[in-house]
């Protein structure tokens, strides 16, 4: 089975493995009917609540981080320093919010009569799918990018492999490279299993309950919706699902803020740089490419479309996330993460810009453990030649050093220019769909898909010299 032959059959393999004919949602140009896809292939919020309840997923507690809020206020102008809350998603069966995505995917696979599920993931999603497959009586294969060419494995990914095996899954581990997708396709074809893609409508709909719960919990607790929700952003599904859930609850004034760890300068497909990063997800290496071209995923049309919902996008450095992880344990008594604490690091700073009576929510935590915990991560970084410095995070160079903020005032966020990201997305849409003339439908779609305006889209098309 040659690489080219398998890749050429990609569309056919995918259709069989996910049971969706994406063609019916296509316009023949850039536009496709996103909402119809979500409606016709997904489940209603109530159905998903039922599915998740059966396997103990969801309804995780909201915890007010009083000490962290007090600490943030020490460094905020008078009257500033919003109350910081966290949704303890680590309480889900497999230890992260990914159980929500996996629950719906596995339920759907079972309903359609598939014997097993396959997921391509090096992160928490693997454990989530393996756990849900165990609960729903399905076989499971998880395909991971795990080792560099020296055979050195990323400890966090190795821990995920352990977790998957604990739930009875088979783990196929690969060395660095995007051709993982080839192995994934070969396995789908060989087994006839369901593609439990992170980017299917079922997967994203599974996260909607997270956003919906946040709104319901705050209305009950505080009598209103939160002012801002901060979401760690990688492939965009966490942000998309949460935002959709908030909207379904009617929380239209809640600001959606994405946060990623900055890994600027590191190439995600580089064998030699693979083990020079301390974050395997939640970073800009996924966040930016997936925001600027969501349809690069393992399904023809991704249900995760972060630009559609995002109001603001910030980055934090690796050192600040490790620092906040330690603080969360030390002054809040919650040992979680680190990767899931990316949004916490951002929230700590963002809270200082907001009024004291406002509410900012960090919408996830994840379990910690051997390999994942900050100690093994920082040990691993040192063993790979990364310097650990206590200083100003602004000086951090990913792949060279990790800078822990020397005091809480040094925890800062970097603002990403959303219009620039929107522009990249529009350019990619034009190029990847080989469009020379955009239709009226395309323009309307792009305006919606980038949460911008018809005028904005037209101005970019003018700039790119694309007719409409």
């Amino acid at each position: 089975m040659s690489y080219e032959a398998v890749m050429a059959r990609r569309g056919e393999i995918m259709k069989k493995a996910i049971g969706i004919d994406y063609d019916v949602f296509e316009s023949g140009s850039i536009a496709f009917d996103y909402e119809r896809m979500m409606k016709e292939t997904g489940y209603s919020l109530q159905e998903i609540e039922e599915i998740q309840k059966r396997t103990g997923v969801g309804n995780t507690p909201i915890i007010e981080l009083r000490n962290l809020t007090k600490l943030a206020r020490k460094f905020a102008p008078k009257g500033k320093g919003a109350r910081i809350f966290i949704k303890d998603e680590a309480c889900n069966p497999s230890g992260s919010f990914k159980a929500r995505r996996a629950a719906t995917s596995c339920y759907h696979a079972k309903k359609l009569g598939y014997k097993g599920v396959i997921a391509a993931t090096s992160g928490n999603y693997g454990a989530a799918v393996a756990s849900q497959a165990a609960m729903q009586g399905l076989k499971c294969i998880v395909v991971q990018e795990c080792y560099d060419s020296r055979g050195v494995g990323q400890p966090e990914i190795i821990e995920k492999a352990r977790a998957c095996e604990a739930y009875g899954a088979e783990v196929v581990q690969l060395s660095v490279g995007p051709e993982l997708f080839y192995t994934f396709l070969v396995l789908l074809e060989e087994t006839g299993f369901f593609n439990a893609s992170l980017y299917s409508p079922f997967g994203i709909a599974g996260v909607e309950t997270l956003g919906y719960e946040i709104s319901m919990q705050f209305r009950e607790k505080e009598g209103r919706d939160p002012d801002a929700v901060v979401i760690t952003n990688a492939g965009g599904g966490n942000l998309t699902g949460t935002a959709r859930g908030l909207l379904k609850a009617g929380a239209i004034d809640t600001k959606i803020i994405g946060a990623s760890v900055s890994l600027e300068g590191l190439h995600m497909a580089s064998d030699t740089q693979f083990n020079r990063k301390s974050f395997t997800t939640g970073h800009t290496g996924f966040g930016i490419p997936f925001a600027t071209w969501p349809d690069r995923s393992d399904v023809p049309r991704s249900a995760a479309r972060p630009l559609r919902y995002i109001d603001r996008y910030v980055t934090v450095n690796q050192g600040s996330v490790f620092y906040m992880t330690e603080l969360l344990a030390q002054i809040e008594g919650l040992e979680r993460g680190p990767a899931g604490n990316t949004s916490l690091a951002a929230a700590f700073k963002l809270a200082q810009e907001m009024d004291e009576d406002q509410i900012i929510v960090v919408q996830e935590t994840e379990y910690t453990g051997a390999g994942k915990h900050i100690n093994p991560q920082l040990t691993f970084a040192k063993e790979n030649g990364i310097e650990i410095i206590i200083g100003d995070p602004a000086d951090e160079v990913p792949g060279k050093n990790i800078i822990l903020p020397k005091d809480p005032s040094y925890v800062k966020t970097q603002e990403l220019d959303l219009d620039r990201i929107r522009r990249s997305y529009i350019r990619n849409a034009i190029n990847n769909m080989n469009v020379t003339e955009a239709t009226q439908e395309d323009i309307e779609f792009l305006a919606k898909d980038t949460k911008s305006s018809i005028e904005f889209v037209k101005s970019i098309l003018d700039e790119l010299g694309v007719k409409y």
């Binding site: 690489y3 009083r66 000490n67 007090k70 600490l71 020490k74 097993g116 076989k139 499971c140 294969i141 080792y147 055979g151 494995g153 400890p155 190795i158 821990e159 492999a161 352990r162 095996e165 009875g168 899954a169 088979e170 783990v171 196929v172 581990q173 690969l174 060395s175 660095v176 490279g177 995007p178 051709e179 080839y182 192995t183 060989e190 087994t191 497909a269 580089s270 064998d271 030699t272 490790f322 620092y323 330690e326 603080l327 344990a329 030390q330 002054i331 051997a370 390999g371 915990h373 900050i374 100690n375 093994p376 920082l378 040990t379 691993f380 650990i388 206590i390 822990l404 005091d407 809480p408």
Partner: protein
């Protein structure tokens, strides 16, 4: 003989040789093969490390590859001492002072 039929083992395979890698990836990755590791129960009667063998994976798939480990186990841990992080909790507690214990 390192392993007998039914033993839990780990095998290794080359998925793509260095020359067969995708063209749009960084050069350092193109210069090395795409490798794969899988675990399973040995199907051969007996084998030594380095032999080509067949295994049945935990979910029942048959895979061929080179035997590299018998009774593989996880070695990841909580790392070594990282004295660099020890200031974080103490400093935060000091900044908070008595406020940390105050109930609001």
């Amino acid at each position: 003989m390192d392993a007998k039929r039914g033993d839990w083992v780990r095998i290794h395979n080359i998925v793509l040789e260095a020359g067969q890698r995708a063209s749009n990836i960084p050069e350092d990755t193109q210069n090395v093969p795409l490798e794969m590791w899988v675990k399973g129960f040995l199907l051969d009667e007996a084998a030594n490390i380095g032999d080509k063998v067949k295994v049945e994976t935990y979910i029942g798939r048959i895979v061929e590859g080179t035997l590299i480990e018998v009774n593989p186990y996880y070695k990841h841990d909580y790392g070594k001492a990282v004295p660099e992080v020890l200031y974080i909790g103490r400093q935060a507690r000091e900044i908070l002072g008595e406020e940390a214990e105050k109930v609001d």
